[in-house]
């Protein structure tokens, strides 16, 4: 049914489509913990202004989002919700794990209620280190993600889960 899954998309069209995905990453207004504020600074602070890169923080609902920044501590109570919200985003979707807590538990690595890393629940495309990463570090992560999108094979992405956890 889909033109892309069959692998019949011409190369030039694919480049074009990759480019449009690259420059239109609607990101979900959803913060978890401290990093949410630095994410907020990247999104809403005029100094960083993530909209420049085509990352548009308008949607509040996962249905319209292309990307989610997991910004902060993932607790065991929150984990099912994160999984569900990730599932509810339409494909193709991208995940940036921001900060030590989301990467692997961070300061709460020994806590009884914290999930040690969001990549146990959902696949992650880019890990941004920091506690919290400064907004420009998140921007670096976004630029890195955009490069990946530019070079990615749509067919592969469409058909399977393209990013193997921890690969």
């Amino acid at each position: 049914m889909g033109l892309v899954e069959s692998g019949k998309t011409p190369k030039s069209l694919q480049t074009l489509l990759n480019m449009s995905r690259k420059y239109s990453l609607w990101v979900y207004q959803w913060g978890l913990a401290c990093c949410a504020l630095e994410m907020g600074a990247a999104f809403a602070s005029p100094r960083y202004d993530v909209m420049r890169l085509g990352v548009i923080p308008l949607p509040a609902s996962p249905r319209q989002a292309d990307m989610v920044v997991v910004s902060g501590t993932v607790t065991d109570k929150m984990a099912p919700a994160i999984r569900r919200l990730y599932e509810q985003m339409p494909d193709p979707k991208y995940v940036i794990s921001m900060g030590s807590c989301a990467n692997c538990g961070g300061p709460y690595w020994d806590s009884y209620s914290v999930t040690k890393g969001v990549d146990q629940i959902i696949p992650v495309d880019v890990y941004v280190p920091g506690c919290p990463p400064r907004p420009e570090a998140l921007l670096e992560g976004i630029v890195m993600l955009q490069e990946r999108i530019q070079n990615e094979d749509m067919q592969e992405r469409w058909v399977g889960e393209p990013i193997v956890v921890g690969s």
Partner: protein, 121 residues
């Protein structure tokens, strides 16, 4: 076909254009987009938790009084249109007539207001 009908044919055509545009968009998209439905993806969104209760719960529509008022007033307003476009011809007589009509309308509004209908119950 008369000019009158023709002009309404254009209306129909434009309605069709709107539909066709949406159809074309959806058609192109269906060629390009992936489709990977899953149980949770098709679940209704409710802030990340499992939706509780029935989605089509009975809702108490608090503005039904407004709705009634609105219907009344809207019908009255339609009567003003022919008068408005012919005021020049009708002159002072039409003006007085309509002033009375509008006054009655206002009276109705004031009545509703005094009765407390314009409160969001």
């Amino acid at each position: 076909m008369s000019d009158f009908l023709r002009s309404y044919l254009v209306v129909a055509i434009f309605g069709g254009v709107g539909v066709a545009l949406v159809g074309a968009f959806l058609g192109i998209a269906s060629l390009l987009r992936p489709s990977k439905p899953s149980e949770q993806k098709l679940m209704t969104y409710e802030s990340g938790v499992n939706p509780t209760g029935d989605m089509w719960a009975q809702a108490n529509i608090r503005y039904y009084v407004f709705a009634l008022l609105f219907v009344l007033f809207d019908v009255e307003a339609i009567f003003i249109f022919p008068w408005a476009s012919r005021l020049e011809a009708l002159g002072v007589f039409g003006l007085v007539e309509m002033a009375i009509f509008v006054f009655i309308l206002l009276l109705g509004l004031v009545y509703a207001w005094r009765k407390g209908m314009l409160k969001w119950v």
